[in-house]
Amino acid sequence: MKNGNGNGSGKLVAGDGRTHIESPLMRESLVDRRVVEKTHTDTELAILPDVILVGIGGQSIFDRGRSAILPLVEELAAAKKKKHRMVLGVGGGTRVRHTISVALDLGLPTGGIAQLVGAMEEANAVFLNALLAKHGTIVMQREHFWELPLYLDSGKVPIIISTPPYHFWEPPPEKGPLPTHGSDFGLFIHGEVLGMERLIFVKDEDGLYDKDPKKHKDAKLIRHTTLEAILENPPEELILDSMLFETWRHARHVKQIQIVNGLVKGQLTRALAGENVGTIIEKASLMKRSAKPVAAKKSAAKKSAAKKTTSKKQARRAA
């Protein structure tokens, strides 16, 4: 809903028993689909578009201990020296599963379970920070959200808490009592709201397979696919939370998710350098729109796109 004439005057309007502030949404029902649709923008602000988010698996990497974690720590330290602007996050791993199994046995409500689990992800973030601190990392507490640019500009690599703060307010899942907004989703949405275009997930497999490679020897690695293809024909086992893919459907910024094997030395480094390792999943609709490499600056393209959308919107409104 572009004001166009800058009419957010802030004038107070009374007369129907309520006092309104003049704005395009004044007196409107925010539930009205017609009102909500008018607010749509195809040129959403990207807050930190050049930052890459790296998510490190809990069960797949962290629960393996030293032999899996220390080589990754070296790679991350080296990447930091190369001045990659990145944000790190870690999953919670087996302790999350244990927490949930106890909580389910006790009959705790879904929101109660969600209130508990983030502690394990936070503990792993503290582990990772202890290992990387001498290279310049810092755990970003949620209330320090807006210190992210400060950390990045002062050369620090922030480690974020992966579980989103849905807590007691976790929405009821479509099936069963398990909370669906887990750490993969949490990292995704953190990247998306900041306008990041690339996320890398470090797991213990070479990427996404058509079925679980730990259970099926004939599982085939998918080197390159699109979000659209996954949504249309989801593999039996997804290596990332299904909520991540559901949310990505409506996302405006994340163009590419790369899944690499953290147990294979150098894969993460190569992925950070933009190499085609592991599995690359792209959101085809967003790739088409920019038709430029993901890392490239796009301010000029954005401006012309903005003009086009505005005129389209004006045309729609006039009609």
């Binding site: 572009k2 004001n3 028993g17 309520r18 006092t19 309104h20 502030i21 704005s23 004044m26 007196r27 029902s29 925010l30 539930v31 009205d32 017609r34 909500v36 008018k38 607010t39 749509h40 040129t43 959403e44 602000l45 807050i47 069960q59 797949s60 629960d63 201990g65 032999s67 899996a68 087996t94 244990h98 949930i100 199994s101 389910l104 009959g107 409500p109 879904t110 929101g111 109660g112 703060p165 849905y166 007691f168 307010w169 976790e170 929405p171 009821p172 099936k175 069963g176 398990l178 949405i189 709201v193 213990d204 679980d212 086992e237 290596i239 939370d241 299904s242 949310t247 409506h250 910024h253």
Partner: protein
Amino acid sequence: MKAATTHGARRTIASSLGESSMTGTSGGMDYSPVAMMPDVKVIKIGGQSILDRGRSAVFPILDEIVAAKAKGHKVLVNCGGGTRARHIYSIANDLDMPTGLLAALGGYVPRQNARMVQMLLAKHGGVFMLHDDFEKLPVYFSMGCIPVMTGMPPFGYWEKPSAKGQIPAHRTDAGVFLSAEVLGAKRAIFVKDEDGLYTDDPKKNPKATHIKRISASELLKADLPDLVIERIVIEYLNRAQSCSELQIVNGLKKGQLTRALEGEDVGTIIHKG
């Protein structure tokens, strides 16, 4: 609790979910939920519909809440946003801000409103609480307090983008429903300025007719362009473990809220099913 110790292997804790990928929807476990505080009455005072009207609308409602507490009801008061939230959303939208920003920014207004209501209820035991204080609810109630909080859920920057539009899908109605759901309360009560649900916005369409009782499925099937309550709450209702009814009452009509707190079917009931 046995741990595998092979060098380099995943050190898992044996549990019924130990080997599960957790990316699906079911852990395959038996589950019989317990209700945390099923007797709490979770109510929401509308922002635009009530609070923006000021004293004439707000004071009589607070009187009813104080009277209900005196009769022994445990009332958790949640506040909506209203016109200032709309103004924030408008400006943020004009600046092309992402949905998560709108959710975080929109959160300030219901918090202000909750503080206002707390000041008015203070002499009757009104306490302002944050999301982080939720576990202290038993203390508040045993002390005879009326806890007041924002209706907004704590998603903030972590709110999901919607298919169409920038307005966050989870706003204060959603937060109130989710509070009732996790507490194990059967009903969430929404105090607005209409007798409940109509076939269209009665403020704009005089031909709109009142609906007394309707199921979530019927309502979703009717596919109304406008609703009295956030659309996502109706979707969640059918998945709820505990909160199976949403009651919408008219706070401008004296006694409606009191009757709703006594369990009467006034206003509109939207039920699971």
